[in-house]
Structure formats: structure tokens, C-alpha cells
């Protein structure tokens, strides 16, 4: 087996992640934990956008709903974190399922815009439903304790995130190779063709939305526990671009790529922490640059240059006619004037 095969690299990353708390300081551990949370978000988003081809912009809102639900269940109803956290993730998954209902009617651009409007409305609810959400100031969540276990909160949360990422990584990896995953890809590449092969469009799309909502909800719950604080501005448009650039930089239609993209983007985000304007330029520029010049993301480069990197890349080929049947005419007209 090649030394730099995908499995070896992933195992090395996992080994590094497991021993990291022994050598890292509090800040580095926090950043590492942030990467784990965002890796979950990116995997969920990649399943929806990269595999199922549903161009949705509601992932940041799902992330927020997970965080708010987890936090509010603790603060308002006095639930323990261990009950509120899964409940929050399920809430986000349920909302994901609910917004998939218009998704059957809408495709492409219309879906993108309606989910964008939905994300904006979610933000509005966080801000203005003050009797429940505490409004613009946000709220503190009760400190998390791993009581019977003799570990402190940052360390416990880090390993909890790592374990969840590991489990959900393999779940996603198996999911996309399964019948369901192939149905996602079929829906993306041609809805009519998929339908004629017996793929239930509504069920498949709803499932993709629900799964990505669940991943975002898990990430949101972990995020609220990490910060001990939930406020509306963490879940805005910039968050959406951050997550989109993760999957584009890592590789659309690749679970491994989502993890790599999340790591890279978060490190970059920390490096640019003080410069909000520069962050927008860099992440926007990365989005444009990768879409233009490196459509498969980093994973496609690794695949080309590393022997043994067996990546089941499920990306529609640029220029293939199945990718954009609705735009064929415009494309044909624009190509040879």
C-alpha cells in the first residue's frame, strides 16, 4: 500500500488529533476543537451541495438553530446538556426536513435564493423574538461538566467532538457509497434520469436536507458548549461563505475534502482574525479562484499527485452536458459566436 494513501493520511491525522491535547495550550486546543466542529458542518453541507446537488444557503441557519436549541433547552427548560444536545441536533434536522418541502418545487437558483431568504428570516427570529432568544445580546449557557469523569471541560469537549466527528465521518463515507448516496448523485446529475430509474425525488432531497441539518445541529450544539455563549451574529452570511469555501476548497463531492477544507479555512481565519475586510476578500477570492481553476478542490490535486490516494470523487465533469441541461442553449450560443 502506498505510504501516502488516503487511509494512511487520515490515520495519521487522527493520531495527531488524539495526542494533540497533550502538547497544545488552551488556545491551540480551542482552535483544534473549532476545526472539528467545522469539519462536521462541512461534511453535512457537502452531502447536500456536493453530492445531492441542492444549492442551499441555509446551513449557517441550521448551525444557529442547533446552537440555539441546545442552549435554550438548558437555559429555559433546565435540561441537562446531555439531553439538550441531541434534542438540538434533532431540531435542526427537523427544520432541515421542513425546508426541503419547497425544494421539490424549486431547483437551482430559486432554491438558492429561497434558502438564503430563509437564513435571513432565521436571523431575524434570533434577533427579534426576545422573550425566547434573548435578542441581539445573546445569552450564556450553563457550564458543561463531565462530572463522573475526571477531565475538565475543554479536554472533554475536544474528545467528544473528535469521537462524534469520527463516527459521523464514517457514517457519511458509507452513506455516499450506499444506495442512498448514489441516489443523491443521480438526482444531482439529472433529475429526470434519476426519476426514471426509480429514485423518489422528494424522499431523496428531503433526506439530504435532513442529514445536512443533523450534522449542522450537532456542530451547533458543540459550538454553543465550546463558547458557553450563543448570539445571533455567529450565524450570519459570512458564516455561510466560510462553510461554502470549506467545501469548495476541500473538494465538492468528497467527504475527506470537507475535513481538509475545514482545517485549512479555520487556520486561515485565525491568521486573519484581526482583519474583517481581508477575511471577506480572501474567502470570497478562494471561492472564485477554486471554482474557476480547481473545480475538484484540493482533493483532486492530491488524487492526481499522490499515488494510492483513492478518492471516489463524485464531481460532475466541467462542461458535461448533464450538468446543466437547462442552460444548454445559452452555453451553445456563447461558445461559438
Amino acid at each position: 500500500m502506498a505510504p501516502f494513501g488516503r487511509r494512511n493520511v487520515l490515520l495519521a491525522l487522527l493520531a495527531a488529533a488524539s495526542v494533540l491535547p497533550a502538547v497544545a495550550n488552551v488556545y491551540q486546543l480551542f482552535i483544534a476543537n473549532l476545526i472539528l466542529v467545522y469539519a462536521l458542518l462541512a461534511i453535512g453541507l457537502n452531502i447536500l451541495v456536493g453530492y445531492a446537488g441542492q444549492l442551499a444557503f441555509a446551513n449557517a441557519a441550521m448551525f444557529g438553530i442547533g446552537a440555539y436549541a441546545t442552549g435554550l433547552l438548558q437555559v429555559r427548560l433546565g435540561c441537562s446538556f446531555w439531553l439538550a444536545f441531541p434534542a438540538g441536533a434533532l431540531t435542526a434536522a427537523a427544520v432541515g426536513l421542513a425546508i426541503s418541502l419547497p425544494a421539490l418545487r424549486l431547483s437551482g437558483l430559486y432554491l438558492a435564493l429561497s434558502t438564503l431568504a430563509f437564513a435571513q428570516a432565521t436571523q431575524w427570529v434570533f434577533l427579534h423574538w426576545e422573550s425566547v432568544t434573548f435578542g441581539a445580546g445573546g445569552f450564556k449557557t450553563p457550564p458543561l461538566s463531565f462530572a463522573p469523569l475526571p477531565i475538565d471541560k475543554p479536554l472533554g469537549l475536544y474528545y467528544l467532538s473528535l469521537a462524534l466527528l469520527l463516527g459521523l465521518f464514517f457514517f457519511a463515507q458509507n452513506l455516499v457509497a450506499s444506495r442512498v448516496g448514489r441516489a443523491f448523485v443521480a438526482v444531482r446529475d439529472g433529475e429526470v434520469a434519476a426519476q426514471s430509474l426509480g429514485v423518489d425525488l422528494l424522499r431523496t432531497k428531503a433526506l439530504a436536507f435532513g442529514i445536512s441539518g443533523f450534522y449542522a445541529g450537532i456542530a451547533g450544539g458543540l459550538y454553543s458548549a465550546m463558547l458557553n455563549f450563543v448570539a445571533p451574529e455567529g450565524f450570519d452570511l459570512f458564516q455561510m461563505v466560510l462553510q461554502k469555501s470549506m467545501i469548495v476548497v476541500g473538494g465538492l463531492g468528497s467527504i475527506t475534502g470537507s475535513v481538509l477544507g475545514a482545517g485549512l479555512i479555520i487556520i486561515l481565519l485565525e491568521a486573519l482574525r484581526a482583519f474583517k475586510g481581508l477575511q471577506e476578500i480572501v474567502f470570497g477570492g478562494l471561492l472564485v479562484g477554486f471554482v474557476l481553476f480547481m473545480r475538484g478542490g484540493l482533493v483532486s490535486v492530491l488524487k492526481r499527485h499522490l499515488r494510492g490516494w483513492e478518492e471516489p470523487l463524485r464531481l460532475p465533469q466541467p462542461g458535461s452536458s448533464v450538468a446543466a441541461p437547462g442552460r444548454l442553449e445559452a452555453a451553445a450560443g456563447g461558445a461559438e459566436p
Binding site: S107, S114, G284, G319, A324, A335
Partner: protein, 292 residues
């Protein structure tokens, strides 16, 4: 009294939403996509106008012309960078490229002008005191906005009806392949469409500037509301865009006046969701075959 005041301010903002919506429709008619950077064109041109008028002391009308020309250039550049290389690509790539462009513009504006103040004020070009027209209280700038919008609409209609370039754009929107066959260079038409869309957004920005404050995040609000207006009117209907803008503007103003001002921010979501589920082709749009 309150009603007529709300109606007037609704018509004014509605006219501006209509202009932003017009930008969407021009690009959508020609290329079939939504330019997610449309709101950022608006924002960026607003800052350019602020720089010219406030910092450099350029006359307002000269500022208007320069900002519109700048917007046109920015639109053409966006076409060259984020649309033309991807014209044969899938919708996901196209949307992500325009979203990325939007954020680059926003970041540039924040870096260049963000340090000065979060909200930049543009001096009013007309007297700020309200005047009475009959028994309706009107701020002169509102009349200026309405007059400006009317002039832009007339120029725009004349361009489409009377000029060669306008007719070529109509032909391309109608059938790109046939247009290419009769010798129209359709890729130039796409560039022109992006340029005109951005120029209209820039015009709207310079008209709005004296009524509001300019800040780097203003683009998104106008983007969503302009899009709501475009969807309501029909994404491929030019008169529909203006009609949609007026309806959204008036409804928002009424909701803000009679219910609560925070409801105004929710209007685009409600409009987009209702129209897309009830009548996806909009009020005046021609129903399109479903894109599979």
C-alpha cells in the same frame, strides 16, 4: 396623514427596489442566472459616489455619471471573471463564483472605507425640510429619487427599443443560438447585460445615498429586497421588476408603520416564499418550462 406619508416613502423605496430588481432582470433575461453580486455593486457604487462627492467635492450630477460608469465597468469585469469562463459550467459553480465576487467586493469596501466610520453620511442634495404637496408631506429628496427613477426607466426603455445594441440584447435573450447564427456576438451581449445591470444598481445607489447611510453591509439588504421585487414581478419581465419593486416598497412601508418597524426586514422572505410557492413565474413574467 400617516397613510399618505407611508405611501410616499413606500413609493420612493419601492422605486429604488425596482431599479435593483431591473438589474437582476437584465442579467437574468440574457444569461439565465442570478447575479449574487448585484447588491454589492449597489454598495460599492454608493461608496465611490461618497468618495467623489464628499471627499473630493465633485458635483452631484458629475458624481452620478461617474458612479454609473464605474458600475458599468465593474459589471463587465464581473462577467469576464466570474461568468464567461464558467458559461458552460453548472449552476452551482456559477452561483458560488458570483457569491465569491460579492464577498471580495464587500471586503474591499470594508478595507478601503470601513476604517473611516461604520456608517457614512451623504449630504442631502435638496433641502432636507419636508414640503407639502396638497396635504401630503413630502421630503424633496424623495421627489428627486422618483424623478431620477423615471428618467432611468425612460432611458432604459429607449435603449432597448431604439438602439442596435438593445435590439441585439432582446434577440439574444429570446434565443441565444439563433442570435449567434445571425452574427450577434452573444458573449459580448452577456458582458453588456452584466454591465447594464450593475450600472442600474449604481444609479439606484447614488439616488439612495442622500436618503440613507452607506455601510459595507448595505448591499445584502438591497440584494434580498431587489430580488424579492424581481421574483414578484417575474424574473424575465422588465415592467414586472418595477411593479414588483413598488409593491414590495409600499407593503414594507405600511407594515413598518402600522405593525412594527422590525417587520420590514422580514418582508423579502415572506414575498419570496409566497411567490415561489404560489406563482413562480411572478405577476408579469412569462411562465418558463421547468428546468430539469
Amino acid at each position: 396623514m400617516l397613510f399618505s406619508y407611508l405611501l410616499m416613502s413606500g413609493i420612493t423605496t419601492g422605486a429604488l427596489y425596482g431599479l435593483v430588481a431591473l438589474g437582476f432582470v437584465v442579467v437574468n433575461k440574457a444569461t439565465g442566472i442570478i447575479n449574487f453580486a448585484q447588491g454589492e455593486f449597489f454598495m460599492f457604487a454608493g461608496f465611490i459616489a461618497w468618495m467623489l462627492h464628499v471627499e473630493l467635492g465633485v458635483d452631484y450630477f458629475v458624481t452620478f455619471v461617474l458612479a454609473v460608469a464605474f458600475g458599468f465597468g465593474l459589471g463587465c469585469l464581473t462577467d469576464r471573471i466570474a461568468y464567461r469562463p464558467l458559461a458552460k459550467s453548472d449552476v452551482v459553480s456559477l452561483v458560488l463564483a458570483t457569491v465569491g465576487t460579492a464577498f471580495v467586493l464587500k471586503g474591499l469596501a470594508r478595507t478601503i472605507w470601513g476604517g473611516k466610520a461604520d456608517y457614512l453620511a451623504f449630504p442631502p442634495i435638496t433641502s432636507p425640510d419636508p414640503i407639502m404637496l396638497g396635504n401630503v408631506m413630502v421630503i424633496p429628496q424623495q421627489l428627486a429619487v422618483l424623478a431620477g427613477t423615471a428618467i432611468i426607466l425612460i432611458v432604459f426603455t429607449a435603449f432597448f427599443r431604439l438602439t442596435r445594441a438593445g435590439k441585439m440584447m432582446q434577440a439574444t435573450a429570446d434565443n441565444a443560438r439563433a442570435a449567434a447564427l445571425v452574427g450577434i456576438r452573444t458573449d459580448r451581449i452577456y458582458t453588456l447585460a452584466f454591465g447594464i445591470g450593475a450600472a442600474i444598481a449604481a444609479a439606484a445607489a447614488v439616488l439612495t445615498a442622500p436618503l440613507t447611510l452607506i455601510y459595507p453591509d448595505i448591499g445584502f439588504a438591497f440584494f434580498l429586497k431587489g430580488f424579492a421585487a424581481a421574483v414578484l414581478g417575474g424574473l424575465n419581465s422588465l415592467p414586472g421588476a418595477v411593479l414588483g419593486g413598488l409593491i414590495v416598497g409600499i407593503a414594507e412601508s405600511m407594515a413598518g408603520g402600522y405593525i412594527h418597524s422590525s417587520v420590514m426586514e422580514l418582508s423579502p422572505f415572506i414575498v419570496i416564499m409566497v411567490v415561489l410557492t404560489v406563482r413562480p413565474s411572478g405577476l408579469l413574467g412569462a411562465p418558463r418550462a421547468r428546468r430539469v
